[in-house]
């Protein structure tokens, strides 16, 4: 995908991988709407992009809030004119600190599902139409290995991400005739606030840096049309192959 002048909505765009990825796409000429909860950090992320000559708008919203979705979708489309890609980067652990499922409150599971599954479903639904009528579009789900492995204490998060992966598969099947493509991307463990919240005592030297992951993530998105729609890809495996094939 050539990103020049493309309209992109990135949730979780003020922090971690979302923020780094926004920088990569802005550098490629994409026009961005960054979505996150905290106003200050959101403005900081946008200011960073604008300082380098990019276009970044900010919309403060919680994607887990049902009432926030149509306002978000409407405002994003008003600001960008057309949305060509949506990157669902916002994530919630649900239970923090992590804990066994048997100790997880229903509300914590519901929160993980609201932010990681139902919110992205609603937002895709609200942004899908013009992409489908134009016959092209890309929706990216940021996932995790917790969606395929039954890691103890990652239950609420892992369950929501497993649903998220499958959401991409079904969207892909239904939207194939309309040219809208879906990808689930597992970036691997990174040194982000989310990871620190989940694993406070992690050995940081073993974690990837979000900027470096974003660089490879963007290489993958440049070639998104070469990957089967609906697929779940592990960034660490696919990008070296793409780079070798170049």
């Amino acid at each position: 995908m050539n990103w020049r002048d493309k309209g992109v909505v990135i949730t979780g765009g003020s922090n971690g991988l979302g923020r780094a990825l926004a920088g990569e796409l802005a550098r490629r000429g994409a026009r961005l709407v960054l979505v996150a909860r905290g106003r200050e950090r959101l403005e900081g992320a946008a200011a960073e992009i604008r300082a380098r000559g990019g276009e970044a708008h900010t919309l403060e919203a919680d994607v887990g809030d049902k009432d926030a979705i149509y306002p978000l979708a409407g405002a994003a489309q008003a600001l960008l004119g057309r949305v060509d890609a949506v990157i669902h980067g916002a994530s919630a652990l649900g239970a923090s600190p992590l804990r066994p499922l048997a100790d997880t409150d229903c509300e914590q599971l519901e929160r993980a599902l609201a932010v990681n599954l139902v919110g992205p479903f609603r937002l895709t639904k609200a942004l899908l139409g013009p992409m489908a009528l134009a016959g092209e579009g890309l929706v990216v789900h940021l996932t995790s290995d917790a969606s395929v492995e039954g890691y103890p204490t990652w239950g609420a998060y892992g369950v929501s991400k497993a649903g998220f992966d499958h959401l991409a598969r079904v969207w892909a099947a239904e939207m194939a005739p309309f040219g809208v493509r879906f990808l689930s991307v597992d970036p691997g463990d990174m040194d982000t606030d989310l990871h620190a919240e989940a694993v406070p005592d992690a050995d940081l030297s073993e974690l990837q840096q979000p900027d470096e992951v974003a660089r490879r993530f963007a290489l993958l998105l440049d070639r998104a049309e070469t990957i089967e729609s609906g697929a779940r890809v592990r960034l660490g495996e696919l990008v070296p192959a793409l780079e070798a094939a170049r």
Binding site: P71, G74, A75, A78, L79, G129, P177, F178
Partner: protein
């Protein structure tokens, strides 16, 4: 005709009246047979404008009233708007008291610090004004969505949520009322059309207010509306007509967008502009061959537009049939497809 009083799943529960001007025929059709009314090679054009929650409780010193945005003028901060006196949608618009008089320079307080200045009062009515908001685009859109409620009328039994006012494919929020003829087109119907070999295309057209309660203003509706036809749609229309297919507009706003563009430029071109064309009986259509529309009563501007698609006598026949059969009117009501076989 009885109005549909509640939001409903129009795509699954509405009734469809097929009106065929060529055969002079009116026929009841199941709503799920809508895609089957089209032929491979036809083109369905929709209005992809999303609906802004465009009703606001507003204050000037000494008075509170309602402002309904009527449409974007350009960019994000300039809007046409109509003022309504105290009360809300539960009161019939024609029974609402007059709003306070405003002048160029009057500042309206929308709440949460959002202000707009009246920059012009229309000669048509002191209630029709041009507003200029005092915020940059990012913050303005967020505020409009936070403070606004969907525009609605007294035939409805409850207040609308924002999602009640959207179609399946809304994009830029230019409309202040839902382009409601699109309600039967859910993704199942769109997929069925696509599978049938019917092409899809879009325009973006700022569907405006359908009533104000003031005779002089209502007579002037629709007001000039912002409109955009993209290049892909220009090409799709040309391909359709070249192969003998029919171009079917979903809703009066789509018909207006296509016809106004073609009339202004001599042919359909990719352009963004303002549509002031009024389509009525005797209007010679250049682009649109058929239309899917709500049930519109004679005397409204929407009904006048339909007279460009079928003779009035046939439309009267269709209307009486629909009334006898208990069809429902208004934005969550039943629909009519005017298209020759």
């Amino acid at each position: 005709m009885i109005a549909a009083a509640l939001p409903r799943d129009v795509a699954r529960t509405a009734r469809l009246l097929r009106v065929d001007p060529r055969a002079w025929a009116v026929r009841d059709v199941a709503i799920d047979a809508l895609p089957a009314q089209f032929r491979p090679g036809d083109l369905v054009v929709v209005n992809d404008a999303a609906t802004l929650p465009a009703s606001f409780a507003v204050q000037v010193p000494d008075a509170a009233f309602e402002v309904r945005l009527a449409g974007p003028i350009a960019g994000g901060s300039a809007w046409a708007a109509v003022l309504f006196g105290t009360g809300d949608w539960r009161t019939r618009t024609e029974d609402r008291p007059a709003p306070p008089l405003v002048h160029a320079g009057t500042t309206l307080e929308f709440g949460e610090g959002l202000k707009a200045q009246v920059v012009r009062v229309s000669d048509l009515s002191p209630r029709l004004v041009r507003l200029e908001f005092d915020l940059g685009e990012d913050a303005l859109w967020a505020k409009l969505y936070r403070l606004g409620r969907p525009v609605q009328y007294s035939h409805l039994a409850r207040g609308l949520a924002l999602w009640d006012a959207q179609t399946a494919f809304g994009g830029r929020p230019w409309s202040v009322e839902t382009p409601s003829a699109a309600r039967p087109l859910d993704w199942q119907a769109l997929s069925a059309l696509r599978a049938r070999g019917v092409a899809l295309a879009s325009v973006t057209h700022a569907a405006g207010l359908s009533a104000t309660g003031e005779p002089a203003l209502d007579h002037a509706l629709p007001l000039p509306e912002r409109t955009e036809v993209p290049q892909a749609t220009v090409e799709a229309v040309a391909r359709t007509h070249a192969r003998g297919g029919r171009v079917v507009a979903i809703g009066t706003s789509t018909a207006r967008a296509l016809e106004a563009n073609a009339l202004a430029h001599g042919r359909l071109v990719a352009a963004c502009g303002v549509a002031s064309l009024r389509i009525g009986p005797g209007y010679e259509r250049r682009i649109v061959d058929g239309i899917l529309t709500g049930m519109h009563e004679a005397g409204t501007s929407h009904a006048a537009l339909l007279a460009a698609f079928a003779p009035r006598a046939l439309l009267s026949l269709a209307w009486s049939h629909a009334e006898d059969e208990g069809y429902l009117g208004e934005e969550f009501g039943d629909v009519m497809l005017i298209l020759g076989y």
